[in-house]
Amino acid sequence: MIVGIGLSDYPKAPHLSAIQHHAQALQRALADSGVAKSAIDGYCTAGGMAAGDDPVTMAEYLGIRHRYIDGTMVGGSSFEFHVQHAAAAIREGLCDTVLLSYGSDYLSRMGRSLGTGGTFRGGREVPGPMQFEAPYGNSLVGSYALVARRHMHEFGTTPEQLAEIAVGVREYAGLNPHALYRDPITTADVLASRMIADPLHKLDCCVISDGGGAVILTTAERARDLRQPPVAVLGAAGGMTHWNIGQMPDYTTSAAAVCAPEAFARAGLTPRDVDTIQFYDSFTITVLLLLEDAGFCKKGEGGAFVAEGHLRRGGRLPLNTDGGGLSSCHPGMRGIFLLIESVRQLRGQAGEAQVPNCDIALAIGSGGWLSCIGAVLLGRGRSS
């Protein structure tokens, strides 16, 4: 059961370091849930955002005496994997109450350099398999562009269809006072924005921000005595197809094609049962692949599906009701925010962005370059 959530200050928080984001989010999750800090005996975090944010340093910094620890780092979807692991650990009795935390000061410390800043400078010696890609000057945006181009080639997907995803998420960002960008945009705005790596425009790409989050899970029994209506982990699964983009086996299919059906099977649910989707929108194309792979439409039909407006506010499958990574908050890894917004929706605490009668939420994280996918089905009113 997820019983506590907390967000640190975002999208711009120059007063916080990466590890302070963890601490602030944890304090807010404790206040949200009523969990005593001393009750936390399990800890999951990914690290990788700043010096000193590795799992053992963070456990020490936050003062977590863990009986169970998981430092799975698979990129931005790490937190969906953590939920799977934490739920299993609680079920197995390895621990009772698990904290997931994340924090990043990317925007304040590094600026907007993540997508095209240039990881590999001339003259640098590159170790490991990345040496087969580094000489060619690909960017992070370029990696997703390779996927978008192939999808367009195979299925006739259009830039307009991809743009619809960004337009819908921006509409929700308008309802979130914290979102980085809130002014409405149109398809024409997306297509007129600067091309970063064909066929992806600037507005097909997520923002860069600061931010952090914390999620607390515990047993169904303990959840009864806490402040918030508990949210059940109904099914979780993860998988990977590749890490580096040059190794992607099928440029139009992600590991969600395997792990999302697995999560649905564990939950005894189908895509028809889902009331809202919180999908990792690093880029518009990311959402399109996840929609198809999770079974909301057939492979290749994502563009037409999106164009029908289902993902919009008032549609039957509202997407990223907090404004997503595309418009609100993306501090480098977004996976924990997918869980937090899902919980807000299932508790009925999403304010103007509330999806009516929201019983089932699906969070799907994508780590790396559509490499490692984690799917988590969450629900209210059922026990795990």
Binding site: G122, F132, P135, L146, M195
Partner: protein
């Protein structure tokens, strides 16, 4: 494949690695290598010390140096030198006639001329002693 030896190399270099080095050394001599498993026939790139399909010891094989653009992007923004001085340029996934895929650049044509399905051939640029880096151009 042709080897260009008189072009200054200002790009990242592969760090020394005993499994990877034969590939770079062969490219510097004009040969484009991939691996094929004598046990199960699986073909793979980049090089590994084991077959990713069955775990046996893979063997080197020489590619024709011909292939097709499987997908591509035109990079129009990149922060670090020397790439930022070469914008825009094409990053593509090339599917070799032998079936394996390699990431690379398609050069020697306007960026807008590149398309999925385009036939390309490999050439190498000498980047350092015993290191040749493959590139691709229209065939």
């Amino acid at each position: 494949m042709e080897v260009v030896r008189d072009r200054a190399w200002g790009k990242p270099l592969p760090a020394a690695d005993p499994v990877f080095a034969p590939f770079w050394e062969a490219a510097e001599r004009g040969r484009l290598l991939y691996q094929e498993c004598p046990a199960c026939g699986h073909r793979q790139f980049y090089p590994r010390p084991l077959c990713t399909a069955c775990g046996a010891d893979p063997a080197w094989a020489e590619a024709s140096g011909r292939g097709v653009v499987h997908t591509y992007t035109i990079v129009r923004q990149y922060g670090a030198p020397p790439f930022r001085d070469e914008l825009p340029y094409v990053v593509a996934v090339i599917e070799l006639d032998e079936g394996v895929r390699m990431l690379g650049n398609v050069t020697d044509c306007p960026v807008d001329a590149v398309h999925v399905g385009m036939r390309v051939e490999a050439y190498a640029v000498k980047a350092a002693e015993r290191i040749g880096v493959p590139f691709w151009r229209p065939r």
